[in-house]
């Protein structure tokens, strides 16, 4: 017996920033689209973005998309694809103006234009500096304002949401074309096949593979797990961003916008140590650079507090008035989670897992690409991805602050547009294969009938602990090797998890078990890719290969679930219209 079938032109999985931006394109074009989300759309993790969205509007002084492109390429440590980066930086200003027209409550300048603040790694004059004000913001609640605005615009466009539905597996026909997904309605526990001409993943990040993370509980890499089970590789999974300023102990994010507005970091001697590590950009160097500097200070005994395990973020000198107008959310978070009022005392902070640079391989049109024969980037028909779950790749080995929101706006829209093009050419549904839904059925049956297994929370803790210990800010060959071994043991345990709750109704134990199936693919991909990459680049910093190696490693990793194998593909060094930004030594 197969699952009941529902038919749509397209299915979008995820209703955060990129999913909502894509669904808006499709809803306004009149297509019959199902948007599936594990949570009510405004509860998606885009809501937690704070500091701003990058676009060269030039409202605060001279700026250009070409400078933004240079900064992004340099920030990526030259692993970003320059065609995709050019596309994003050129489209960014238009995306911001669209959002403004949709009603987004951006902060304003006296002349009525959108206010922009400085952010790490964003400079004038092709990296020469000084810092440029490029981050468009709504106080320190930019993601919240953006997500709500996009949801509101979708309400206006009558988009069709399936709220609290979890996508489970991809359905492909014999030719490899994507023809739908299976999904579970959480309230009833019922599973359906969503038969569609196209599927677009916008499932966000997977930061919950780490024990200490700024990410929401829902960030479990669902899209990545789903495509990897369907034979599609994951790209550049060794590159994880550790945000310099997570609240020590709690992991909650403190925006880089604090440093953009003039805050800075101190060690236990009261020294503004970033001056030593990045003489020009100082506290506004790229995130990987600042996170490493902080970790070095702590490692060398200059950390603060009883355990000497954090550094301090000072902003009281900005004054209560500026803090309350530009950084009110931070003040709230610091009081609640760090027990300090930042208008008086510094906030204890540590580098904390924040963003996944890798993901589902796509081109800049949002089409998912995978090797077929000699073509390393053959388009998978009917499959699209955008936002953090996708790897276009615009962030390469390290993402610049503000570029995640830019990414989800620009690529959410372009993936939506590409889906529309595909739907115009593919008027009818391809038939479902005879075994459609079987993988999902097997997974659910296994879970329901499992006895003598371990609990999801126990195995999940082992997964997060393994990633945290072996795949952190600094990477060591022995730890990476043992990490690969350990995570493969955890993988065996994931296959035997047991839940006590067998209810059909809103069974969150079942949801968490199914999420763990996705987290494990992300974790294995990350460790295997990290162990294999014998260089240091961006966020991947190896003790035994301290330098970037462009001769051997200027290439993207591709991890395949089957056999946990790796392959590699070239970085796109050719932009769309301008000249290549050639690799050089990266200093700030």
């Amino acid at each position: 017996m197969s699952f009941p079938v529902r038919k749509f032109d397209a299915v979008i999985v995820g209703a955060g920033g990129s999913g909502l931006r894509a669904s808006l394109q499709l809803a306004e074009a009149g297509y019959n689209v199902a948007v599936l989300s594990k949570v009510f759309p405004t509860r998606s993790h885009t809501v937690a973005a704070q500091g701003g969205v990058g676009a060269a509007l030039g409202n605060m002084g001279e700026d250009s998309w070409h400078w933004h492109m240079y900064d992004t390429v340099k920030g990526s440590d030259w692993l970003g694809d320059q065609d995709a980066i050019e596309f994003m930086c050129r489209e960014a200003p238009k995306s911001i103006l669209e959002l403004e027209h949709f009603g987004m409550p951006f902060d304003r300048n006296e002349d009525g234009t959108v206010y922009q603040r400085p952010f790490g790694g964003h400079m004038q004059n092709f990296g020469a500096g000084p810092a440029v004000q490029r981050s468009c913001c709504a106080a320190d609640r930019t993601g919240h304002a953006m997500l709500h605005t996009l949801y509101q615009r979708n309400v206006r466009a009558n988009a069709n949401f399936f709220v609290e539905w979890m996508a489970l597996d991809l359905i492909r026909d014999d030719s490899g074309q994507v023809v739908g997904v299976t999904a579970m309605e959480m309230e009833s526990g019922d599973v359906f096949i969503f038969h569609a001409k196209a599927v677009l993943f916008a499932t966000g990040g997977a930061g919950r593979v780490y024990a200490s993370s700024t990410n929401a509980f829902i960030n479990t890499g669902d899209g990545l797990g789903i495509v990897s089970r369907a034979g599609i590789p994951l790209e550049d999974m060794e590159f994880w961003q550790f945000h310099p300023t997570g609240v020590s102990g709690a992991g909650v994010l403190i925006t880089e916008g604090v440093r953009g507005e003039g805050g800075y970091l101190l060690n236990k001697d009261g020294e503004r140590f970033m001056e030593r590590y990045a003489p020009n950009a100082k506290d506004l160097a790229s995130r990987d650079v600042v996170a490493r500097a902080m970790a070095t200070e702590i490692k060398e005994g200059r950390g603060c507090g009883e355990g000497a395990d954090h550094v301090l973020l000072k902003l009281d000198h900005l004054g209560e008035q500026l803090i309350d107008s530009k950084l009110p959310g931070i003040r709230e978070i610091a009081k609640k989670f760090a027990n300090v009022d930042p208008a008086r005392d510094p906030i204890p902070v540590v580098p904390t897992c924040h963003y996944m640079m890798g993901g589902i391989p796509t081109n800049y049109r949002g089409e998912v690409v995978a090797p077929r024969g000699s073509d390393m980037e053959a388009v998978v028909p009917g499959l699209y991805a955008a936002g953090e779950c996708a790897c276009a790749s615009v962030h390469g080995a390290n993402r610049l602050g503000t570029n995640s929101l830019t990414d989800l706006l620009v690529f959410g829209k372009s993936a939506g547009n590409s889906t529309i093009e595909f739907l115009k050419e593919n008027k009818s549904h391809k038939e479902l294969p005879s075994d459609a839904g079987e993988l999902t059925r097997a997974r659910l049956n296994r879970l329901n009938n499992q006895t003598g297994g371990e609990s999801v929370s126990e195995v999940g803790a082992a997964l997060r602990d393994t990633m945290q210990r072996t795949c952190g800010v600094f990477r060591f060959p022995d730890l990476l090797e043992s990490g690969v071994r350990e995570i493969k043991e955890v993988e065996q345990r994931v296959a035997r998890t047991e839940i006590k709750d067998k209810s059909k109704v809103f069974n969150t134990a079942r949801v968490e078990a199914l999420e763990l199936d996705n987290l494990i693919e992300v974790a294995v991909a990350s460790l295997v890719s990290a162990e294999a990459r014998k260089e240091s680049r961006g966020a991947h910093d190896r003790a035994d290969f301290a330098e970037r190696d462009d001769v051997n490693w200027l290439k993207h990793s591709l991890w395949f679930k089957e056999g946990s194998k790796l392959d590699y593909k070239a970085v796109h060094m050719e932009p769309l219209t301008v000249e290549t930004i050639a690799p050089k030594v990266r200093t700030y």
């Binding site: 919240h144 509980f217 209810s503």
Partner: protein, 231 residues
């Protein structure tokens, strides 16, 4: 620490009951949500919503010792024991602490919560002065957690007719936006004995809002706009 938690699974329970949990907390458990997650690790049958764990997504609203709040920003040290936890009041319970929010969102959607401006947009932004933008402060920050509406007796009695504090706060967010052109339609939509005027300013909404917002004040401003429109 002792907790008493409302339990109900329609798949197996004839009626709801309160279950006690005695939990050994760790020094890192700061917020109520940390304790609930520890309970869930002991007993995976407890269902609740949660996501951001920092008070911005609005998932984990619940009734805590008689008052609505977000579990993730409610400090354990501030709670009197045994901590009694129930689902948000006045809403149909799906299971345990998970309520059916349909009516709440229906009311939110009923205020047309999106900017209406039918003039073709300029090539650049629609200008807005810092003062005009400041009118939106205290309004746009709503996280739709429903703590306010489900603490409001008027919303309990008439959830289908009274918009409720959260929806009205958002109605005013668009009335207050210098870029919005639908003022009179928005006021028409609210000029009704139930939709707006069931608010009797008892201010439960202000008391519980985890973001420190003031729906009663916004409702007052809508009433002012209606009065001004009449004269």
């Amino acid at each position: 620490m002792l907790f008493k938690i409302y339990r109900y699974d329609p798949d197996k329970d004839a009626k709801p009951y309160m279950q006690e949990y005695d939990v050994e907390l760790q020094s890192t458990d700061r917020m109520l949500l940390d304790a609930l997650i520890r309970i869930k690790a002991m007993d995976d049958t407890l269902s609740l919503r949660r996501s951001c764990r920092e008070g911005v997504c609005g998932s984990d609203a619940m009734n805590i010792n008689g008052k609505n709040g977000l579990a993730c920003i409610t400090k354990l040290s501030d709670l009197k024991t045994p901590v009694e936890i129930r689902p948000l009041p006045g809403m149909p319970v799906i299971r345990d602490l998970v309520v059916d929010m349909s009516q709440f969102f229906k009311q939110y959607h009923s205020v047309k919560p999106f900017l209406v401006n039918d003039t073709p947009p300029p090539d650049k932004e629609r200008k807005q002065s810092p003062e005009e933008r400041a009118e939106l402060d205290g309004l746009y920050e709503c996280i739709l957690c429903a703590c306010c509406s489900t603490s409001c007796p008027s919303f309990w009695w008439n959830p289908d007719k009274f918009v409720g504090p959260a929806g009205l706060l958002q109605a005013y967010r668009f009335l207050a936006d210098s870029r919005d052109q639908a003022t009179s339609e928005r006021l028409d939509n609210l000029e009704d004995p139930y939709r707006l005027f069931r608010c009797h300013s008892i201010m439960n909404c202000v008391d519980v809002c985890p973001k420190g917002l003031n729906p009663t004040k916004a409702i007052g401003k809508i009433k002012d706009m209606l009065v001004k429109r009449m004269v």
